[in-house]
């Protein structure tokens, strides 16, 4: 196969970054953290909105509806991860990621089990409501992790 190599030109970014002035990495990260902290309350509202979208989804009645509804569920789960972002909601992200994995693993031989969708919606709501240090958080995540492992172990 033909390989054409373009000699790397120095990007403008590579010059800018070493220009005089600027800030230390420590200061840049402190500022970024302060900026992100100001978004934390909005994050909770956004995550709750995405969970509400998941809760509102109904099992489809036709194959066409199934594709569309799975797409909506996948986007809502992605939205949970997007919105939970860098706000100390690792278990919320992990649970949403599990739902993404289940949807992504759908094949004609391994259809989506629509019973899990309300389980995920309720579990995510519970995680939002529980205190950060609650033992129940770990139990919720563990039981969902086991379910994902079981489902993904099925032949597909």
């Amino acid at each position: 196969m033909t390989v054409i190599t373009h000699a790397r030109r120095k990007s403008r970014l590579s010059k800018i970054i070493d220009d005089a002035g600027g800030v230390s990495v420590g200061v840049a990260l402190s500022r970024a953290k302060a900026n992100l902290d100001s978004l934390a309350p909005r994050s909770l509202a956004e995550v709750a909105a995405r969970i509400a979208e998941l809760s509102a989804l109904q099992p489809p009645e036709t194959p066409e509806q199934e594709v569309a509804t799975l797409g909506l569920a996948y986007r809502a789960a992605n939205g949970v991860i997007d919105s939970a972002g860098p706000f100390d909601m690792a278990d919320v992200c992990a649970v949403a990621l599990g739902l993404c994995d289940l949807i992504d693993a759908v094949t004609p031989q391994r259809p989506f089990d629509w019973r899990v969708l309300p389980v995920y919606a309720q579990s995510l709501q519970l995680l939002l409501a529980l205190p950060q240090d609650a033992e129940a958080r770990r139990k919720v995540r563990d039981s969902l992790d086991k379910m994902v492992d079981r489902k993904l172990a099925q032949p597909g």
């Binding site: 054409i4 790397r8 590579s14 800018i16 970054i17 990495v25 990260l29 402190s30 978004l39 992504d104």
Partner: protein, 189 residues
């Protein structure tokens, strides 16, 4: 600082003049990225909610950095980056590109590797990991290759190393340094 990975806290960077575009269909996702960038001194010049919107701007305006989400309706992030690399737009076709992904579908893993992005960061990402990738792509000296339908940075890290490798090396170096320091100070005797 907690979360700081392959960067020295005291290292000085200047990203103030970087013309940056952020593309994300989620308004809040875009705000998160733009807020982190602002902390680094980067004021997002172009905030786009779709690939189509980004393409129109990229045709006419040079950028220094593109941060784009992978999952978007209609044209996704992978398609946008593939288009950009093949666009012939100079200098934008060669611009550093960082992609952000909440979840990468199995069917898109190959596309994530082959679309021509410099990096894909999985969410949730920390400000430290985003900054680390920005510094990495700024210093990325890999040549661009055209191989089949691929156009983008050389995917083999021969001279430039991935931040993950740097982190491991840095951890080992730091442990060795601390061990030497402790030995010199007579710690443990």
């Amino acid at each position: 600082m907690s979360g700081l990975e392959g960067l020295r806290e005291s290292a000085v960077i200047n990203l103030t003049g970087a013309v940056t575009m952020v593309v994300d269909d989620s308004p809040f996702g875009l705000d998160i990225t733009a807020s982190a960038l602002l902390g680094f001194g980067i004021k997002t010049r172009y905030a786009c909610h779709s690939a189509a919107e980004a393409m129109e701007i990229l045709k006419d305006h040079p950028i220094d950095l593109l941060v784009v989400d992978t999952e978007m309706p209609d044209m996704d992030g992978y398609e946008l980056v593939r288009w950009l690399r093949r666009s012939g737009l100079d200098p934008n076709a060669f611009a550093p590109v960082i992609m952000t992904a909440a979840h990468v579908r199995r069917s898109r893993v190959t596309e994530a590797r082959d679309c021509g992005a410099n990096f894909v960061i999985t969410k949730p990402f920390s400000a430290a990991s985003l900054l680390e990738r920005i510094v990495f792509v700024a210093r990325d000296s890999r040549p661009f290759l055209e191989v089949g339908d691929y156009f983008g940075p050389d995917r083999r890290f021969r001279e430039g190393r991935a931040p993950g490798d740097e982190r491991r090396a840095d951890v080992l170096r730091k442990l060795r340094h601390e061990a030497e320091k402790n030995a010199a100070a007579g710690v443990g005797e």
